[in-house]
């Protein structure tokens, strides 16, 4: 890690455009240093709701640059090519100590050192970072950092307001995103579009980490209903800046395990904690995270402390939103 940070320092010296930002994320200050502006140009919008002008001492510092701005690469990787695992993980660098992911297709490296509280984000080319990564900057780094702090990193949408929110979880195609967007279109705030960071202190609370929501082509919730500003269109996906609608922190009142029903109206049943745990954990650990084993106990704690419901979503979006309101009221 030290050698990589030395490369960043040299990259900073090479470029005359260095930026520093401080963000309030998950209740702490995260400092991001950029050598060159191209990565900042990609990440500024999704992180805009979290900028703090009065930062406390950072709990994490992330140093970023891309090779098209400054022609300096990190030192050659200390692992073998055969150590590359699915989901960009690296054998031996995915659990304790310094952790790393490398997205070969998009040339994107993340390094995290929990001991020094330093992290690195290096891109071969900022323009090659895919939109689903750009809309949730530093997801792997923040996931490791949050897990080390005992937070749960949950593959879920979260909608509500400062007084309470619901986590909506489910596999792809379960209606999770549609539910969240329908709620936002009807006045809810957005805490999380895809991944929520949840603290399990005296109060269970969800934190936002991005101001961007993804809207698929053909979504029953239209862009004009959501408002916001289109940031990027990539194929069938539109990235929408909902900065003004982002709720940075909200108590979690309930978990909703969503699935698509056959009727117009929703069907709701209470879910046992063990079933809620199963709904949360499978996708959260494998898909949303780096596969960190330590996230499971936090997810179990979340399932134990917060009421959960299975909702078969109806086709009537007004009824979906009304159902979410009822869940929130009952769980307050």
């Amino acid at each position: 890690m030290r050698a990589t940070l030395e490369v960043f320092d040299r990259a900073s010296d090479d470029t005359h455009e260095t930026l520093e930002r401080s963000y309030e994320l998950a209740g702490d200050t995260v400092r991001v240093r950029y050598a060159g502006t191209r990565l900042a140009d990609r990440f500024d919008v999704p992180l805009a709701p979290f900028v703090t002008e009065d930062p406390a001492a950072p709990a994490l510092t992330i140093s970023c640059w891309d090779r098209t701005t400054v022609d300096r690469s990190p030192p050659p990787p200390p692992w073998l090519h055969t150590d590359h695992l699915p989901r960009h993980r690296i054998r031996g660098f995915d659990a304790d100590g310094v952790r790393a992911t490398y997205d070969v297709q998009h040339g994107l490296l993340h390094l995290y050192d929990p001991e020094s509280r330093q992290a690195v984000c290096f891109a071969q080319d900022a323009a090659r970072i895919p939109p689903w990564t750009a809309r949730a900057p530093f997801r792997a780094l923040l996931g490791w950092w949050a897990t080390d702090r005992g937070l749960a990193v949950v593959h879920a949408s979260a909608v509500g307001g400062p007084n309470g929110c619901v986590l909506v979880t489910g596999p792809s195609g379960s209606g999770k995103s549609t539910t969240a967007l329908a709620c936002v279109a009807r006045g809810f705030g957005l805490v999380a579009d895809d991944v929520a960071i949840v603290a399990l202190g005296a109060e269970v609370a969800a934190f936002a980490s991005s101001g961007i929501a993804k809207v698929e082509a053909g979504s029953p919730v239209g862009l004009d209903e959501l408002g916001g500003t289109v940031v990027e269109v990539h194929g069938a996906q539109t990235m929408l800046d909902l900065g003004g609608r982002v709720v940075r922190r909200a108590p979690v009142r309930a978990v909703i395990a969503a699935s698509v029903g056959a009727d117009a109206r929703c069907r709701v049943e209470r879910l046992a904690p063990a079933s809620c745990f199963r709904a949360l954990a499978g996708h959260s650990v494998v898909e949303a995270l780096s596969g960190d084993q330590r996230s499971l106990p936090a997810l179990r704690e979340l399932a134990r402390r917060v009421p959960a419901y299975r909702i078969e979503l109806g086709s009537d979006l007004d009824d979906v939103v009304a159902t979410v309101c009822v869940v929130l009221e009952r769980s307050a």
Binding site: S73, P74, P75, P76, P77, H81, H84, L85, P86, R87, H88, Y102, D103, V104, Q105, G107, L109, Q124, P171, A272, P273, A274, S275, F277, R278, A281, G282, H283, V285, V286, E287, G291, Q293, L296, P297, L299, R300, A303, R304
Partner: protein
């Protein structure tokens, strides 16, 4: 070969009430065991021998010992087949296996079942790494001209 060792390097598991969730971090498959199955996992994952596990479960659920033994055998073999565990020749046998189990029990004995969910496996595609750039980092093959 009468005990198991969970492959902790890539297998993570947690129990909540009467259900155990097991995740294979390398394949993305996750598994659930409920009731008797959860108890069976709790014992086997602590390297309780199959004999001991069968005795404890037969006593706890007042079930036929031979039937339980056959079903615990089958589950153990399935856990090994799924890559979640390996046979342990020299287990660290827990001193009081019954104490590992929670107080509440399932209403009746049912065969321990491993429910597998592999809807995540399609997301786990290995990136082919064929080339290295000039700085030593893996890169995809160059596009043909």
């Amino acid at each position: 070969m009468n005990a198991l060792r969970i492959l902790d390097g890539h297998v993570t598991h947690e129990r909540l009430d009467d259900e155990v969730l097991v995740i294979n971090l390398e394949t993305g498959a996750y598994y659930a065991l409920g009731g008797v199955g959860a108890d069976c996992w709790t014992l086997l994952s602590r390297q309780a021998p199959i004999d001991t596990t069968s005795d404890v479960l037969a006593e706890r659920y007042r079930a036929d010992r031979a039937t339980v033994r056959a079903e615990v055998d089958a589950l153990a073999a399935e856990l090994v087949h799924e890559g979640l565990a390996t046979w342990e020749e020299d287990p660290s046998i827990p001193a009081d296996p019954l104490a590992l189990l929670p107080g509440a029990i399932a209403p009746a004995y049912t065969p321990p079942r491993l429910e597998k969910y592999d809807d995540m496996e399609e997301l786990l595609l290995l990136d082919p790494i064929h080339e290295v750039d000039d700085a030593g980092w893996p890169a995809l093959p160059a596009e043909p001209a």
